[in-house]
Point group: D3
């Protein structure tokens, strides 16, 4: 049994509030247990210089935490004057993951700016960001379709993410909260599509190693959890869901 009473393969309660902010083309508040992230998708009518003239769009992401999202106040990256390595890893991951399910040619020369701002952190902020950002992005595309700026939904599959890990005494578990994460020997973030294909697998032994058998268990548990997350995304998207290609 886990500290919060969950079964090893049980997700935390998830809730997504769509249209959370009034200015962004797409926005959600995603809550995964006590982890809360505001995800917005902003669409700009041009691409970065290195992509101009190719007739393709681009998706890029930024991630940040409020200073007091965490138990201890952390210093703002704007005060430090630089973005940490952890933040860079996460924002590169979010952008790459979303690009895997979007038809960039169908999007045309537009940039999608994803912003994931963690207002409260309790583990799994990067995977919650991906799951929420996907919904915010689809809502933004829908808004562009509504005002005639996009002809088709340029998304060919669902996309969600979760963490799995090997925690001392507890074994292989799904969707680690902060306490579990800090005790994990192996920590793996998995991003998958609605059709069950992998987009990203990042497994790390924390001053530890893991066997092929553990790897297999971890991947299966992730598959199970992501299936549930995708089902919930479909609920939240309602009518819009029908337009997801594939």
């Amino acid at each position: 049994m886990r500290a919060d009473g969950r079964q090893p393969d049980e997700l935390r309660r998830i809730h997504i509030t769509p249209h959370y902010l009034k200015h962004a083309e797409g926005s959600v508040l995603i809550e995964v247990g006590d982890t809360k992230v505001i995800c917005t998708a902003s669409i700009e009518d041009r691409v970065p210089p290195f992509m101009r003239g190719e007739g393709k769009g681009w998706i890029t992401a930024e991630y940040s935490m409020l200073p007091r999202a965490t138990e201890q106040r952390n210093i703002r990256e704007s005060s430090k004057g630089k973005v940490t390595g952890r933040t860079m890893e996460i924002q590169r991951l979010i952008g790459r993951a979303l690009r895997a399910v979007v038809d960039l040619k169908a999007l045309g020369e537009k940039t999608v700016w994803i912003d994931c701002d963690v207002i409260q952190a309790d583990g799994g902020t990067r995977t919650a960001s991906i799951t929420g950002a996907y919904v915010a992005m689809v809502l933004a595309f829908q808004k562009l379709m509504d005002i005639g700026k996009l002809n088709t939904m340029p998304v060919h599959d669902y996309l969600a993410a979760t963490s799995v890990g090997v925690v001392e005494h507890t074994g292989v578990v799904l969707d680690l909260n902060y306490i579990e994460d800090s005790q994990a020997q192996v920590d793996m973030n998995v991003v998958m599509t609605g059709k069950g294909q992998f987009v990203e697998v990042q497994g790390t032994g924390e001053e530890a190693t893991f066997t092929r058998e553990q790897m297999n268990s971890l991947l299966e548990m992730a598959e199970h959890g992501i299936g549930q997350l995708v089902a919930y995304q479909k609920d939240v998207l309602g009518d819009v869901a029908a337009k997801i290609q594939g």
Copy 2:
């Protein structure tokens, strides 16, 4: 009549959600019309090096906007690698204003970190930040008293802020929203105490000037609005309000 139907001396709807985040000693979500700011107060058991050994506390503030708090996405200051002049002005103002009503000796050698993060902006974000941060700070002090880390509430008065301005065609108005703010000839931010004293008056002609008579009207309207804000703060604080000295 104003665009949103308000009388010239009418505040926007205000709402403060206390205890908005679980980790911070004190936190609120303040909503003033469509302006929404998360204010947290974090308390650290030491003061900056230049104040050590004086037996006094310190209060400092940081202010930021989510990139998509605004109509157009604005670039993160962490990405720019520096904090803008506007942000610096605002965070200096918030810290200075709060220090005016706190007995820093009674606080002892502690630092209060105020974080104001605007999640949605519609004018008046700096004054909403002050009004909200005051409540978050009082809640944080109450929490320290509850756990025996502070003997008395080191606050000797209420504190709230609003904006007033001279808007073309409309004249002198209270609590400007974004549209009004961008059309104002004169823009004034006023911070006052519960007893009706001034803490800060910042009046600026925007490529314009103003007369002594206008100045007087502006100050009177601010006084009127801040009185209502303080009354609302008392409601929100409930029992805690009784401990505010003075």
Copy 3:
């Protein structure tokens, strides 16, 4: 009586040396008591990107102190690699104040760069900068008129600034020197035009508050002092003064 023998409403000795440097279009050395600031106005034949094509000019200011302008040597901002919040506040104030009395359309697509470099500081450096920068700017415009690059003097009023404050034991005083400034409970910087209108009022309680009555006294004393400063500016400008519109 004040420490330096002045009456409460007495300015320090002011002296402006016009044409202080040979390269700038306009330049002065302004001395207000022991405060000495070199102010230059440089004119560039284009505006920043965000203003191009609007047929209007722009005025922007920078402010700095020599490291040993002060009692203790202060670290250069170029060594720190960033400009402090105080500096940013001051340079935004100077630029905003000057824009209030210039007809930016009559100026045309030009940028006026104001540089205020404090070579010796004894309180009131920001207000001395405004009073001096105004003269340097008018001299620069006159030079442009002399060489046929400008048809009319695009300035429609005089502009000067001073500080007022409430100092312990002494009460309300005009034009605070460094000692008075560091003891002031209330510190107010006021920028006014030659016609007696306000451009900027920034009043701050330093861990203190102030009443409406004090506010009124402060404003009256500022009005009195600025009248004298403007009269002196007219003397310094001589023939050029006749061209100031309004």
Copy 4:
């Protein structure tokens, strides 16, 4: 068949020159095909502040490329004034991987600084860096043992890394060179120990996804390649190899 004539599961020629530089405690030049990396291990007699007094050591890594290691000259990160996200990801990976096979308690309060400088790049620079840095680190520990600053070799297993991927037309291949890497649909970096356990698996679909079956093939091929790399490391280390615990 692959463009350079290799079989799908064939590594490129590998060569490690031990003791490549005279000042570092441990150093190698590792060549994997045309990829050449100088790896050094420097040992400092203290740990970072956050670890002091815990009786444990620390390992941290830095990674860089000479500007002309690549086909096109890339701008130095020192000129840009900041380290890119890609560099940060790589240096975090190298440090984390090495820490997985070192007994930090046996090391004591020392910091191992790993520097990996790519002098010529042809794909796989991060995995070559790990394979080379491991040898440089062991040589540095040996040097400390020789001079009596360390009692036992604090390393409990071998460690090497390689890349595997899915390349269009060619299928699953081992040890991708630059051309293959730029054409890969799936790119996976795998770090394993001499005993065949995983330390890190980072698989990424490049605007693509991959199946569980492909995942399995990739992991098997990585296992095969890393076995050969570890065998070569043992050869290079000679006598020292006997001291690796485990």
Copy 5:
């Protein structure tokens, strides 16, 4: 004949105003033709960390130009966020030159901060800075002796600097102004002591080369000019001059 009517071996008019600023321990305004530099010497009662406990002092210099010291306004280094290579070269040169004539042991564990701020530039700003900074430093030492913080003048020789160069059509000339400097094929800065020894020789062909014979002429002309500069320094220092050791 030179453009400004000087003989090839003729210095520009030099003037040094001692005690130019009230706060610094030592300060001068040095004018060499139209080049004007404020030099201050500030003395701090400690040395940088890398020198503590050695019983020796340190001398370090900073150099800057006001934005409008030059014909074209130059951007402040504080706005750029970094110090240029040219500035760094000059400040390293000034510090090194002064250290050559000071007995750092006799100074004791103190740091001398030299600040050279060019308020008007017309060539030779770095050599004027050295000549002026030397006087400011001696005045600062004298002040410390006056208040009993120093027993002897820790300076064992005079120090002055000038430029020499090879200018097209004109040949070898002394003390180049800006026009000559920009046309010079060879540019040489020379720092010498009162006894006629070299401290620093920096000769550069500007996309050109120079012969040994030209080198000799340049050095002789520099020697001649520096002799005159040292004589003038003695005049300015008056009684203090007698205390220079050696």
Copy 6:
């Protein structure tokens, strides 16, 4: 006799490996005793903005050290976020020196990027960089001629550099290694052409001064050493040497 057994006027063993890296247009590894520098020349088909349209080329240089090129590990400039003054001085010197022997008009609107990366340091890294960079640059020009992108070799003389100095007890010596350099009273870097003309002379007393006689000895010894370096460059360049103009 010197510590390493050399005569006062004896160079260290020099070795240049041409075509050291595969991607750069020109590259060498230069070894001067234990000092080892990788020099590359990259050619870009455009010039910086300030030179466009003038029909001339540009040469610019960057210099860096691997962290463990030195006895003590030095912090990367990319980690510090800024380039030190020493590095800036060196890279400005390298670029300036090379420009003195290149006909920039014959080069046309191209930029030559020189990169000097010190992989092992034992004194004289800046002079080794110049001697090596010259060869890398000539090789790059030859490559452009081979592929028809340049008609003539735009180089009109050879160029090499060495250091000379006055070392306690030993006297005037040529080509100082690290130990000698750290004990030198006078340190002089000299850059000369194949025809024996000076390009740059930088002589510095290290908290010391030097006489005209010492200056002469130093220059003569430098002349002697550079003659040998140029002879070796000719050997390395082989057939290409015949194309150097002049």
